[in-house]
Amino acid sequence: MNIPDYTIAMVVAIPLLGAFLTPLVSKINDKIRNIFVILVLALNAGLVFLLASEILTKGIKTYIFGAKDLTFPIVRILFEVDAMSIFMAIISSILVLIAVIYSWAFMKENTGLDKYYTLILLLTAGMLGMVLTGDMFNFFVFLEISSIASCALIAFWTDVGESVEAGFKYIVISSMGALFVLFAVALLYGQYNALNIALLSNLIQYTFLDKIALVLLIIALAMKAGIVPMHMWLPDSYGSAPSSVTVILVSATLASLYGVLRVIFTLYGNALSTLIRFDISVNVLIGWFIVALAVISIIIGVTMALIQSDFNRLIAYGAVAEIGYMFLGIGAGIVALGTAYGKIALNGGIFHIMNDALDVALLFLVAGSIYYATRETSLDKLCGLARNMKYTTVFFIIGLLAIAGMPPLNGFASKILIYESTFQINPILAIVAILCSILLLAVFVKVFFSAFMGPKISKYSDVKEVPKSMLISMGIIASIIVFIGLFPDIIISNIVEPASNALIGYSEYVSQVVGGL
């Protein structure tokens, strides 16, 4: 069943058109605006799944903006979608759809909601554009759109001092990162007079300037992905943003992580195997750099999560630890690029991107529903909520077991791949990873007993369950998590495997553009 060629462009154009129409639609009334936004996102998710079925069966598709075929000096902008980018697009579109359904009831009494939904649609367009584009400068433009939109969304509750300060910190760090990305793109353009990722990957001879551009790109994109030395913005912005916004922020952060992967595997693909002094090849160097950062971020994430008393900040530090697991899997995959267990590590890393996005999203939705019910996020004051909020407690247990990597659920399926492969590289890595995963379980069990169990105190005796739409969205994520946990090999064989093949087999990505001329 082949779909028209322009669906790739429509995947980004529809959220943009929806965002431009929302201010006009919201002039009618609020309910029609909410329905309009959910319809736009549902249509967009449908298109992404249609495109995914097309890509996973027929391989890479490209789409040129403004012309039918490719002239030799690639002048126009090119969208190039392979299994890895469609994998990230699936995660982003699911999470945004669920976040908007959740925020229907969660955001009812706030003002300025038409701007809120406009910014959510713009953030979706920014993320999908970042993930699907095949042009370096276009990647920078969409990176900037998603960072400005998410900064404004973080500072949504302007009467709370922390969220405005978190928004400012976020925009300073992400505009710094975006400027480094622009400088690196300018460096590459200055040398090779080309902006297309596939063409650049073909032209790069790994001169000293290319090394500077590589370092700048990795530092800037890892900074926006929340790696340890530059992770200070993550707990502040996840902690003080509305929970439905934080769910979308998780997928925005993963889009920057995708940027790191695209730069290392595709842009510098054939430079990875060049030998530098005393015959270490480049990928071993980069791999160990990422693995080291990953281990530090796991340790810092878990230890900081132990001492937090605010629910949102605790989950945010858990998310930092989970991003550390992703980078651990990917870094191990880069170190052992050619070998079998390197492939398993990469599979584990990429699979963990999907699993962790869903787990952290579910936990933030639970935190949001607790905030909705009790207007309180600090754990010391919460007590005995299990009696009245039955469903939320069940969802919290599912989220808790999943993020800690307990067997029946999806966290385990990807973490076992990471443990198994990192053990072959260096046993210490696997031991540290397992210990921190158990610590993470301890952190969330402490939260469970302090917030949900405990005596019934008068203040929360009349707490009632959250409205239906919030429960539905939490239920969707929980069912996806349980489904992936019970049948992981379905997901691995036909989504994760093609994605890691697409990353490693970068020459097919390049020949799709350069080969055709």
Partner: protein, 114 residues
């Protein structure tokens, strides 16, 4: 032949901006620092597209001769408007931070972690 003086000016601008961003305490000075880095990167983009004694790539009553590159100029246009957008957002956040904490000093604002 002015060897690489424009690129040295670019490096100087960017380092000035970085100095203002990292070492200055006042919020407004940090925002100015980011704008400085922005203009440094824009200058770098523009100087990449210049050819020896070339004219602007516009054909209307042009004196003729080699033309400068049009693509970096288009990229710089986009980057300037992005700079304006980021600047507008940052300044509105600074106004709100001043309204909450009545100070622009970063060290005082970092709220005491209870």
């Amino acid at each position: 032949m002015i060897y690489n003086i424009p690129y040295i000016a670019v490096a100087a601008l960017i380092l000035l901006g970085l100095y203002a961003l990292i070492f200055k305490r006042n919020l407004i000075k940090m925002v100015i620092g980011i704008t400085l880095i922005e203009s440094g990167v824009n200058l770098f983009l523009i100087t990449l597209g210049y050819r020896k004694d070339s004219i602007a790539p516009i054909y209307t009553s042009s004196p003729g001769g080699t033309m400068a590159f049009p693509v970096p100029q288009a990229l710089t246009l986009t980057s300037i408007v992005i700079g304006v957008a980021v600047l507008a957002l940052m300044l509105s956040l600074v106004v709100h931070i001043y309204r909450h904490y009545a100070t622009l000093d970063v060290s005082k604002i970092r709220r005491l972690k209870e």
